[in-house]
């Protein structure tokens, strides 16, 4: 039986001002403890979907709900239940890792956390101790990504949305990142992430939604994928053919 999804898109459609249809009636849901991968090439509509889910962009049609709250109707309430990691994670270069975390934690409604609590989250995402009180200026992309993930974690939101979180990371960092995602899944969070990396999707996702040109071509569960070659499936789909 299916529970009420934490992240839920229904007939999501976006037509940009220039008339370009970036999303065409996309529907999907992400359950607690599920990692849902939006898989698609550049321009498939992944970021557009995510932007709608965070209220950065109004949809043309359809609904985007977080924890049962319509993002468009009540964005301030809906956002309380979602944590986000954007594709660009520069953060505040003049703040230390802990200060960055502190600021976003407070924005997310977590006041009065102790230094130790911040450290514990930073430790959890695998940032080196010595970097906790260092300014982000000198951080590598991987380190900043970890701080970004800590920011997403500390909010303790039931929904986590990540846009291309592993792009630009070296294999080691990407692997570490992946294990963090799986850890969050085990905590029962609903995780929506976009990627154009088929292998990453295959390893981490419980469900993969293949997108192309604004359309959700197919949604496959991990079980279904066990018997199929995702790469082939993907290529077939985006070339308009249905896999045999």
């Amino acid at each position: 039986m299916k529970q009420q999804p934490i992240i839920e898109a229904e007939g999501l459609t976006k037509v940009y001002e220039d008339g370009h249809c970036a999303l065409d009636h996309v529907s999907f849901g992400v359950q607690p403890g599920e990692v849902f991968c939006l898989l698609g090439g550049n321009g498939a509509g992944k970021t557009t979907t995510i932007n709608i889910f965070l209220g950065f962009l109004p949809q043309t049609e359809g609904t985007a709900k977080i924890h049962g709250v319509d993002m468009h109707a009540d964005p301030l309430e809906a956002k309380k239940h979602v944590a986000y990691l954007s594709d660009v994670v520069m953060l505040y270069p003049n703040f230390t890792a802990r200060q960055n975390l502190d600021f976003f934690a407070r924005l997310g409604g977590k006041r009065n956390l102790t230094k130790e609590q911040y450290y514990s989250v930073l430790r959890q995402v695998g940032l080196q101790e010595m970097a906790f009180e260092q300014k982000l200026k000198g951080f590598s992309k991987g380190m900043r990504q970890k701080v970004g993930l800590a920011i997403a974690i500390i909010k303790e939101a039931p929904a986590i949305i990540l846009d291309e979180p592993t792009s630009g990371l070296d294999p080691k960092a990407a692997n570490e990142f992946q294990s963090m995602i799986l850890h969050l899944r085990s905590q029962g969070r609903a995780i929506l992430m976009s990627t154009h990396d088929i292998f990453r999707a295959k390893e981490v996702a419980d469900t993969v939604g293949i997108m192309n040109d604004g359309k959700m071509l197919t949604i496959k569960s991990r079980k279904e994928l066990e018997h199929e070659d995702l790469e082939k499936l993907y290529l077939n789909y985006i070339h308009g053919k249905v896999a045999a």
Binding site: L76, K79, A83, S86, D87, N94, F103, G148
Partner: protein, 487 residues
């Protein structure tokens, strides 16, 4: 929520080396300009006192009030420390003689051209140029920079409204800029006290309002910075746009408006006015002497047939009447010249005023001009300074003239015949030849009053404009951000 943003904004600035260095330099410049200003002011005071002392000493050697080199000296005002304004362009004193109109001569710039090069190093200049640049430098990417670094989306992934965010950003950024500025001015105030500069309540009041005007001014640029950064997607674009705006507002508009006003309303220079006055006077005198020759020829005509004794007798009888006639004609001629001079100057000042008004109105498109005008009017170093002193000096000249005449001295030698009262005597003698005059009796020149009330009334309009500009920029920044595309 907005306080979290404000706090972050403030902390982020205070932790940035770039901010610390730039704000520190601005602070130092502000403090240095005040220290230099105080030094300069003290020098001016000493010079002023010495000049008066020397005048009195010379006077004390005289036996006749005619010989006193009377002059009225412009008294330095502490406010020059903050707003030099036209101070250095205007002469420091005027001779007080009946022969010549009151005219302020020997400005600092004319005495020391090097000073003219460095005239700008007063706090007003630092605020005008440096603080506005600082304000722009730290706001040009206030909004679009957060978009570029991805933090905008991260922030708005939380339950915070746009209004709260922009309010917090403005408040935090404002305080960050306010701290070094207010600190610098506090140190400036402290220096005034420690360096033994006497200031009355009105002057402290003017100083306070000057600080307020400075704050209003850089706030304006800060708001414009945020406005532009919320109007453009990329910080490189907003930086360029702001640079162009800054150059126009601070460098071009004030100068261009003066030039435009000069073109639209040409006014003769003082040299032209004076050469015209001189030629008018020459003509009047030529006419006068021509008339006198004519009259004398007429007067002697009846004696042509007379015997010499008869002629002498006739001339002796008529001479007083003839002299009286000449005297009247001369007085009429002098009065004509004096009236014409007064009228010409009046006209000149009126024209100049109108031109100035036009220039100022044009300039007021720029907050830089609003600030400059407000600051000068607050400090009393505006273009009205010359007028105020000349009026006071004219009054003093009248007073002094009366005094000298009472003392039985003619004033200015031969020409005294023009003066009111003393008939036509060309008396050079004081009452008692050989006795030195008592300089204690000499009326002293009193500097024109410029009260805090007057300063505020004069600057109210410009301060008001600046405030309105701030409100508009604030509303603009607010609206621009509400419409900002944060993807």
């Amino acid at each position: 929520m907005w306080t979290i943003i404000a706090e972050k904004e403030l902390k982020e600035h205070l932790q940035s080396a770039r901010f610390i260095v730039t704000a520190g330099i601005s602070m130092l410049l502000l403090i240095a300009s005040m220290a230099l200003g105080i030094q300069h002011y003290k020098g001016r005071v000493a010079q002023h006192d010495q000049a008066i002392q020397m005048m009195l000493e010379t006077a004390a050697q005289q036996t006749n009030w005619n010989m006193v080199p009377a002059a009225a000296y412009r008294k330095p005002d502490v406010m020059e420390v903050f707003v030099n304004g036209v101070n250095s362009d205007i002469g420091r004193f005027s001779e007080i003689t009946l022969m010549r109109n009151v005219r302020l001569v020997r400005s600092e710039f004319s005495d020391d051209p090097m000073l003219a090069v460095f005239q700008f190093l007063d706090p007003t200049f630092v605020v005008l140029i440096v603080l506005s640049l600082l304000a722009i430098l730290f706001t040009y990417n206030a909004v679009n920079g957060e978009k570029e670094s991805g933090t905008l989306k991260l922030v708005f992934a939380n339950g915070i409204s746009r209004a709260e965010f922009i309010l917090g950003k403005l408040a935090g950024g404002w305080v960050a800029l306010l701290v070094p500025v207010v600190l610098a001015f506090l140190i400036g105030g402290l220096m005034l006290i420690l360096m033994g500069v006497e200031m009355d309540a009105a002057q402290w009041g003017k100083f306070g309002f000057f600080v307020l005007a400075s704050v209003l001014y850089f706030t304006c640029f800060m708001l414009i910075g945020v406005l532009v950064s919320a109007f453009t997607g990329r910080s490189s674009v907003s930086f360029l746009v702001l640079l162009v705006l800054w150059i126009s507002a601070v460098l071009i508009i004030p100068k261009a408006s003066t030039m435009l006003a000069g073109q639209a309303m040409p006014v003769a220079t003082t040299d032209e006015v004076e050469s015209r006055l001189a030629s008018f006077a020459t003509q009047a005198r030529t006419e006068f002497f021509g008339g006198m020759q004519q009259r004398w020829r007429e007067r002697f005509r009846p004696t042509e047939g007379m015997k010499p004794e008869e002629a002498t007798q006739y001339q002796a009888e008529n001479r007083p009447a003839w002299e009286k006639e000449d005297q009247d004609a001369r007085q009429e001629m002098e009065k004509k010249i004096a009236d014409h001079t007064a009228r010409s100057y009046e006209e000149y000042y009126n024209q100049k005023n109108r031109q100035e008004q036009l220039a100022f109105s044009l300039a007021k498109m720029s907050p830089a001009s609003m600030f400059q005008l407000a600051a000068m009017k607050l400090a009393g170093t505006d273009t009205g300074l010359k007028r105020r002193y000349e009026d006071a000096m004219k009054n003093y000249r009248d007073q002094y003239t009366k005094f000298v005449q009472q003392k039985g001295g003619g004033f200015g030698g031969m020409r005294i015949t023009v003066g009111r009262g003393s008939g036509g005597s060309v008396s050079m003698g004081g009452s008692q030849e050989g006795t030195k005059i008592d300089v204690g009796e000499m009326p002293r020149f009193q500097s024109p009053q410029y009260t805090l009330g007057e300063a505020l009334t004069a600057s109210l309009f410009d301060l008001g404009l600046l405030t309105i500009f701030n409100i508009l920029a604030f509303v603009g920044a607010f609206i621009a951000f509400l419409r900002f595309d944060m993807r």
